[in-house]
Amino acid sequence: MQDNAAPAKGQVPLIQTHDLQKLFPVKKGVFGKTVAHVHAVDGVSITIMRGETLGLVGESGCGKTTLGRAILRLTEPTGGKIIFGGKDITSVPLAQLRSLRKRFQIVFQDPYSSLDPRMTVERIIGEGFKIHGPPPSASKNVKFAERERIHQLIEQVGLSHDHLSRLPHEFSGGQKQRIALARALAVEPDFIVLDEPTSALDVSVQAQALNLLKKLQDKFGLTYLFISHDLSVVGHMSDRIAVMYLGKVIELAPTNEFLNNAQHPYTQALIASIPIPDPRMKKDRKGIEGEVPSPIDPPKGCRFNPRCTYVEPICKLKEPPLVDIGNGHLVACHKCTGQACAMEKPA
């Protein structure tokens, strides 16, 4: 599934998940008997198009990180299928998976713990070549080719050559995140999972990092899964946005549609809860009461029903499916199914 005719951005699916599920067992007692399961990711079916950025938002514990890791098989899913570039990779043996991993990379949230403190930047970036082979080059000399590629990478992420011989502790958070990104780019991946890449950074540095991510995406035609709890950042970065709640995707829509015409009551509350840096838009925020229930024993029916203002009897009995309501806008809510969405937005 290499791009032979260079299809337009967002036309060809790169990754599809079918009913992806990851349950973590809860063990108790001397014999470690499994008494329950944490439903971290519970039946997620999404498609990520080649060249797009899919934003994934949700509160802590909703399963967004687990979904990102399950797609890369960094945690083994307990059910469902993952299709990467037309190939089912759900049950590919680990040895084979290793060579596939060249095409998908991940950048973690915490740059302080994701870089080995005893390796120089040059070794960190070049580690991928040890596993996946040296980069393609005209030169016969492998060492030379690697070094050349590393120099190229460090420039692409906006650092300079003399940074290469240093150790991670000599860098600031923003610079560390750049190094992590260079490492991910080294093996020329198609797809990068960005797990809260800017959460640990300050505002002015965050802006630099976001710009860099966009620039690199345009240059190399990368596909991103951008995981974050910060809707303003996700709104800035993504072509489409998905919301997760207790292990389920409850709404997915193109960014504009998402921000202006969110349908699910939870999404609406989430958008209304963001503090806006504009005092004139000071509104009496209508948040939601209560807190996210435990994912060990999620509520029956719609998982949002205990906190929902529009709850009806059906919501407690039947789980709403994710339905397309037009314009590529998917919602899982009984109130919104069908073409006409009768629900009023709360003022």
């Binding site: 509160e59 802590s60 600031s172 923003g174 300050d202 505002v203 002015s204 540095v205 965050q206 802006a207 630099q208 976001l210 710009n211 966009k214 709890h229 809707l231 303003s232 950042v233 709104g235 800035h236 960014t255 504009n256 921000l259 202006n260 509350a269 989430l270 958008i271 209304a272 809860s273 963001i274 503090p275 806006i276 840096p277 504009d278 005092p279 004139r280 000071k282 925020r285 948040g287 939601i288 009461e289 807190e291 996210v292």
Partner: protein, 328 residues
């Protein structure tokens, strides 16, 4: 400033330094800030700019080897920098109280919520009788809108969620009706929906009790919603103070302008965010001029040589920048 408003906290020329082997780190370099009665002031800045250190200095809780080396802090006319440790203890928690960023590390894990609240109340209000104390504890927990206060009283901090713990912290801080509440990043560790609940709660309670609040955060959205005035800090100095609306509509200092633009706004489609180039300067090196000079697009020669002073450029709008001093 208008005459009828009474200042509750006056900080003048405050300098807090850390004397290390490698040299002296000037965490706060001449802070001037006044907080009036019934007002909430937001302090905004990036990591290491000295926002938390301002709060610690006011409470005289600067961790060693840090020291307040110059300046005065007057609270209701009383000079705090020269009080004895015992006198200070009578002020902390009772007249000035503080909410910390991380609720899970600021509660004691081996005591129940009820006993921690009870301790504060009996210490500062002299209520020792068990029934009265219990009643007061429940009353405080109800105030912060905890759903089942009777059961929360008997619970340990680990049994509560992050939002609940922060509510308990607010209850602790407000239990003695302090005149000044210092909230250091009270919502940073929380999710957005919970953040909205906590912010609303803080606003209501502070206004209802007629207290003043110093809200420290890096999130401009949070201060826009909760504060009357905003104070922007950079590298241990205050660069701009103005009323909230004024600051957002007419930011004057180049750093403030950059900070406002660097925020991705919801629903605004932009290919590129504006960035402030470079990084925060090293506070160990003393600088003569403006600390922002290396990142500033409109820096001039005198920015390197002279330190800008705080000027009231417009009524109630203070800026410390050479662009607005003298002829400019």
């Amino acid at each position: 400033m208008s005459g009828e408003r009474r200042p509750i906290l006056e900080i003048k020329g405050l300098r807090t330094q850390f004397l290390l082997h490698e040299g002296t780190v000037t965490a706060l370099d001449g802070i001037d800030l006044t907080i009036y009665e019934n007002e909430s002031v937001g302090i905004v800045g990036e990591t290491g700019c000295g926002k938390s250190m301002t709060a610690f200095s006011v409470l005289r809780l600067v961790p060693p080897p840090g020291k307040i080396t110059a300046g005065s802090i007057r609270f209701k006319g009383v000079e705090l920098t020269t009080l004895t440790v015992d006198q200070m203890r009578g002020i902390r928690g009772k007249l000035i109280s503080m909410i910390f960023q991380d609720p899970s590390t600021s509660l004691d894990p081996v005591f129940t919520v009820g006993s921690q609240l009870g301790e504060v109340i009996s210490l500062h209000q002299g209520i020792y009788e068990e029934a009265a104390l219990k009643k007061k504890v429940l009353q405080v927990l109800k105030l912060v809108r905890i759903a089942a206060p009777e059961s929360v009283v008997r619970q340990y901090p680990h049994e509560l969620s992050g939002g609940m713990k922060q509510r308990v912290m607010i209850a602790l801080a407000l239990s003695c009706n302090p005149s000044l509440l210092i909230a250091d990043e009270p919502t940073t560790a929380l999710d957005v929906t919970i953040q909205a609940q906590i912010l609303n709660l803080l606003k209501d309670l502070v206004r209802g009790a007629g207290s003043s609040m110093m809200l420290i955060t890096h999130n401009l959205g949070v201060v826009a919603e909760a504060c009357d005035r905003i104070c922007i800090m950079y590298a241990g100095r205050i660069v701009e103070i103005a009323e909230t609306l004024d600051l957002f509509e007419n930011p004057m200092h180049p750093y403030t302008k950059g900070l406002l633009k660097a925020f991705p706004k919801l629903g605004e489609q932009k290919d590129e965010l504006n960035v402030i180039r470079g990084t925060v300067p090293n506070l160990m090196k003393p600088f003569r001029g403006c600390p922002f000079v290396d990142r500033c697009d409109s820096s001039m020669e005198k920015c390197r040589a002279f330190r800008p002073i705080m000027l009231e450029v417009k009524p109630r709008h203070f800026v410390s920048c050479h662009l607005y001093s003298g002829g400019g």
